[in-house]
Amino acid sequence: MASSAKEEILARIRGARVPAAAPVVRGYHREGSGGVELFAERVADYRAVVRTVTDVPEALKSLRGKRIVAPSDVPDEWLVDGVTWLREPLSIEELDGSDGVLTGCAVAIADTGTIVLDGGVAQGRRALTLLPDHHVCVVRADQIAASVPDAANPPEPTRPLTFVSGPSATSDIELNRVEGVHGPRTLEVLIVT
């Protein structure tokens, strides 16, 4: 059955005789000039918390007294004292019951204030950055790409990717934006310079 549907659809497409298209002209900007400052400004526009820091462990002292999820491969120095660190394996209930999650990122985009997670170093699987209500993301200045085309070519597009631009939000009521729905309601970005 399935293969006959496939053959029929492909035959219909060929029967439509669409002429060859002109080559794609990529006249848009491939590079931008934005860096740390623009990234910080654009992330803040989404009503995320943005802090530019030089000392990550010092900055993470704000998490003291909380139960925070940390992927298995975060740098040891991030695991500051006074925080209850929750480590894998973690169940959905444990993730849901945590106070927050601390991760790094794969790349960030200045133009749009976006962080990209690819499940690589210090990021963990996708559920880790989804269920906790507070996401603290550490972004090194050298991870910030200027524009979407700059950042849209990760080394392995087949990894599960999540582009995060601000806390969860909705525009579904009268087309006005409101922050805080199902994803983390607080996004805190620490830019390390």
């Binding site: 399935a2 549907a5 496939k6 659809i9 492909l10 219909r12 497409i13 060929r14 029967g15 439509a16 669409v18 002429p19 060859a20 298209a21 002109a22 794609v24 002209v25 006249g27 848009y28 900007h29 654009r42 989404y46 959905i92 209930e93 849901d96 133009d111 749009t112 204030g113 499940g119 699987r125 996708r126 559920a127 989804l130 979407v148 085309p149 849209a152 070519n153 597009p157 087949t158 990894r159 599960p160 990717l161 999540t162 582009f163 631009s165 969860s168 939000a169 909705t170 525009s171 579904d172 009521i173 009268e174 087309l175 006005n176 934006r177 805080g180 729905v181 199902h182 994803g183 983390p184």
Partner: protein, 472 residues
């Protein structure tokens, strides 16, 4: 052949439905407020891009390239998805797609599934088909949930509950969730969060649509805002994605164009809060079973129309709805389809594929041809030209008359903006023929028209000119 559920059974023709909708002052007020808000925000989001026109051209060309070698790219996509542990299914029409999805739900013994907002599944009437088969589909997008709980129909591509204001939403939530909640949008969002949380954490099967699929890598892309998409795409054991065959892009690099065009055109943001990309199955992360259902449902017939096929470039941003003076006044439900507004007026009748269907045939006439839709379209679909082309087809289907000859001439004229504006200028000259603002006799071939009716004198300034000055 089964009826295409892209139009709702029993819907009146557009003029009849619009006549009724125009009397609903609450509806008009809600729509004016919402579309006015988003128009201003979109203009700002697009205005800060100095290369917007180049991005639009690239978007148009990438999609045209896809349409010109759709067969090869679909086969390539199937290979890529299969190589990464996914299973690809093909469906000729809505009925076949619904049967496939219901079968997959039954394989997993699911009686309830969570859904990410998806136009493709709305188009094929999947929820109703699942319900009939004993599977309850829970919509998780806020606006989609409002429509579902209100036993209502969608009226907008991006925000299906755009016709509801905050106090109406509050009433629906009070009645169906049994919660006391204020009409503050933040409180309403919180109510939805609480209502859906347990479902996200416990439901084993999710159903999604797709904004894009990359043929080369097999990667599927979903853009969303609330995190309901991430919940559905990450937590369940099984993910079923239903996608129109035209949603492809050839390579990963092509996404850099659409990730810039779509958010600014739809929610008027630099980037939507969450974009998820997945490729088949990733061990240890997300659903371990992935099914991709590719649907035709009228798309290949649309592809065969050299003028109309450009509708398949559509990325469902809904910018054309938000700028349309007709949509703003009649609302989306008047179009009798999940695809309302200017894009619906050209896409729906083509998917239905039968101009003898009076409701579908009435849709290309749901426009003043002002051209605002074309100007905002991120993939440059020339909606006015397709509208006039389809009008000619609709008239043709009624039989060859003086009207059909006039429509064919109109289609030729509208096919080019400059021809149209020249004709409008010529039309303005016709004011000299008018007495009391009516023209009672036009020279041939217009005499065929005025022999049985008067024509209002063309205004001194065309609507297009007025719109450009006041709203553009």
């Amino acid at each position: 052949m089964a009826r295409n559920p892209v139009t709702w059974l029993g819907s009146p023709t557009f003029p009849q439905a619009a006549h009724k909708a125009l009397a609903d002052t609450q509806l008009r007020q809600n729509l004016r407020k919402a579309t006015g808000t988003i128009r201003g925000r979109r203009a700002a989001a697009v205005g800060e891009m100095t290369d917007w026109e180049q991005l639009r051209v690239a978007g148009e060309q990438i999609k045209d390239d896809v349409l010109s070698r759709l067969d090869t790219l679909l086969v390539r996509l199937e290979e890529s998805v299969t190589a990464r542990g996914g299973v690809v299914h093909w469906a000729r029409d809505a009925e076949e797609a619904n049967r496939i999805v219901l079968g997959l739900c039954r394989e997993e013994n699911a009686t309830e599934v969570v859904k990410v907002k998806s136009m493709a599944t709305a188009e094929i009437g999947l929820n109703e088909a699942l319900e009939a088969g004993g599977v309850h589909a829970v919509e998780t997008d806020l606006a989609e949930l409002i429509v579902q709980l209100g036993d209502d129909r969608p009226s907008h591509i991006l925000v299906p509950a755009i016709h509801r204001n905050r106090s109406e939403i509050r009433e629906i939530f009070r009645r169906r969730m049994g919660v006391e909640v204020s009409d503050e949008p933040a409180d309403l969002a919180e109510a939805a969060r609480v209502y859906l949380r347990q479902k996200f954490l416990t439901t084993k099967v999710a159903i999604s649509g797709a904004n894009f699929a990359v043929a080369d890598t097999g990667s599927i892309v979903v853009l969303e805002s609330e995190g309901n998409g991430r919940m559905c795409l990450t937590l369940p054991d099984t993910l079923i994605t239903v996608m129109g065959i035209e949603k492809l892009v050839p390579t990963w690099q092509d996404l850099e164009v659409f990730l810039q065009l779509l958010p600014r055109s739809s929610t008027a943001e630099r980037m939507n809060p969450y974009t998820s990309v997945w490729t088949g199955v990733t061990p240890g992360d997300g659903p371990q079973k992935f099914h991709l259902v590719l649907i035709d449902n009228g798309r290949t017939a649309t592809l065969a129309d050299s003028v109309g096929r450009q509708a398949l470039r559509c990325i469902r941003c809904s910018a054309c709805l938000n700028v349309c003076p007709v949509y703003e006044r009649t609302g989306g439900q008047s179009y009798g389809s999940v695809y309302p507004g200017p894009i619906g007026a050209i896409l729906t009748p083509q998917l239905v594929g039968d101009m003898h269907d009076p409701q579908a045939a009435s849709l290309p006439f749901a426009s003043s041809l002002c051209g605002a839709c074309f100007e905002v379209c991120p993939v440059r679909i020339d909606i006015p030209s397709v509208l006039t082309h389809l009008r000619a087809e609709a008239v043709e289907a009624k039989g060859r008359t003086a009207e059909s000859v006039a429509m064919a001439a109109a289609a030729w004229m509208f096919a080019s903006a400059s021809r149209y504006e020249k004709a409008q200028k010529a039309g303005s000259l016709a004011r000299f023929l008018a007495r009391d603002g009516r023209i009672t006799s036009l020279p041939w071939p217009g005499s065929k028209w005025t022999s049985s009716r008067d024509v209002p004198a063309p205004p001194s300034e065309s609507f297009r000119a007025w719109w450009r000055k006041n709203r553009g």
